[in-house]
Symmetry: C2
Subunit: 245 residues, 2 copies
């Protein structure tokens, strides 16, 4: 372990922030760090919108199911997969961009995630805290309108940014052997790993809530996956010009 | 700037590795760091296969268009989006998993990217070097066979891991104002940013290759996007059980 792996392994989401502003210098250090993440063939297929306007944050908080921290954080970063800039580059070379494949969609979605995770690490190293806001995907049509996004751009997640005003525990993860396989995929490791993790998450919730929350990872997953998630997504993405041929 | 933002901003891909092994302890520190990345509603929808077997690496190198470093790196990590474990969790609760939406696909693809980027940072902080291998997506059917992947799992990218045996320059990125927008998306900043970046990338390539490579970012993008990319992807993903409703 060194300072960096300790920082990475100490990550916890922060949902309450001090009123302190995030300075321009700090924001730029974070986004410049994001930019240096790997990118597929240098396409850099992402953009990030820094939102500080209270009305926009309030509206995006409503999109995300009224998550109070989306409104109260000093800066909300909205991370977008973005093929529109690559399209502009093609146009100036007189080339019609062919971006209508699942592959292009994957590339843009991965590119923005790599950049955002670098931003998260940079922010935490500078004493800030973050929480990813997947809830922005509740209504991407509204987010697209609020942020004035052009075609070939879609918000993948938000990220609240600011100085932490609370501490929270580090949530235990699946046993290492569940996610790390050797040479080939090991299905036999899964059942035992889930048993072990169900026990650990149950203990964690009981301890953390004084016994009020008594559940397991399996129960949480069953509850999450028992109905279709955000079923409008495909249609929205097609409206934004993405194709999945 | 601090040690971490310096590390993040110093990233360069490494394609030549010393023969030194990556110890079990180092590999575990890297994957444990990966596990602490944020994950959507704790689904942890990813797996990573650590490949050291020379034959498998050779075969995956062939998949990736004969990238020599895929064969010669001490460890190849294959990062997979993985909804199969969540399906197992649902099954033990007697729930039939409903995972047939674009949303679920995005969640799994983002989850693995966040974890992998933490792994990249951890590795670099420990003195190792990495390069992402998108080329593994040239033939995911073959990669799936070689790694014995179950349904609801797909390799998103590989990552060569080892101790660097060369130095390489840090490739310039787009101007900050191209990717960082304020309050709403700023289309007007794009044309000028691309002009500036085309000049910078041209200078960079000319200097780096002694004048042999004379191109711009726009030309590279036009060349990349003029034909459909990996058009079999959607069909492959459906074979693996993913749906995009």
């Amino acid at each position: 372990m060194n300072n960096v792996t300790r920082l990475l392994q100490r990550h916890r989401s922060i949902r309450k922030f001090k009123p302190d502003e995030v300075s321009e210098q700090v924001l730029e250090a974070i986004v410049r760090s994001a930019q240096m993440a790997s990118t597929s063939s240098n396409v850099q297929a992402y953009s990030v919108i820094a939102v500080t306007n209270p009305e926009t944050k309030r509206a995006l908080s409503a999109v995300a199911g009224n998550q109070q921290h989306v409104e109260s954080c000093p800066v909300l970063l909205v991370w977008c997969a973005d093929l529109s800039r690559d399209k502009l580059a093609c146009e100036r070379e007189g080339v019609e961009m062919v971006s209508g494949t699942m592959e292009n969609f994957i590339v843009a979605t991965v590119d923005v995630a790599l950049a955002a995770q670098n931003a998260a690490i940079a922010a935490e190293s500078l004493g800030l805290g973050i929480v990813y806001i997947g809830g922005i995907r509740n209504n991407l049509r509204e987010a697209t309108r609020l942020l004035n996004l052009p075609k070939l751009v879609y918000p993948v997640f938000g990220m609240c940014l600011g100085y932490p005003d609370h501490e929270s525990g580090v949530r235990p993860r699946l046993p290492l052997r569940a996610v790390l396989h050797r040479e080939t995929y090991d299905e036999t490791a899964q059942a035992e790993s889930i048993d072990e993790y169900d026990r650990r998450t149950r203990d964690y919730y009981i301890e953390r809530t004084g016994g009020k929350r008594d559940t397991t990872w399996s129960k949480e997953m069953a509850d999450k996956f028992k109905r279709p998630a955000r079923a409008y997504m495909r249609a929205y993405l097609e409206e934004q010009g993405f194709r999945f041929d």
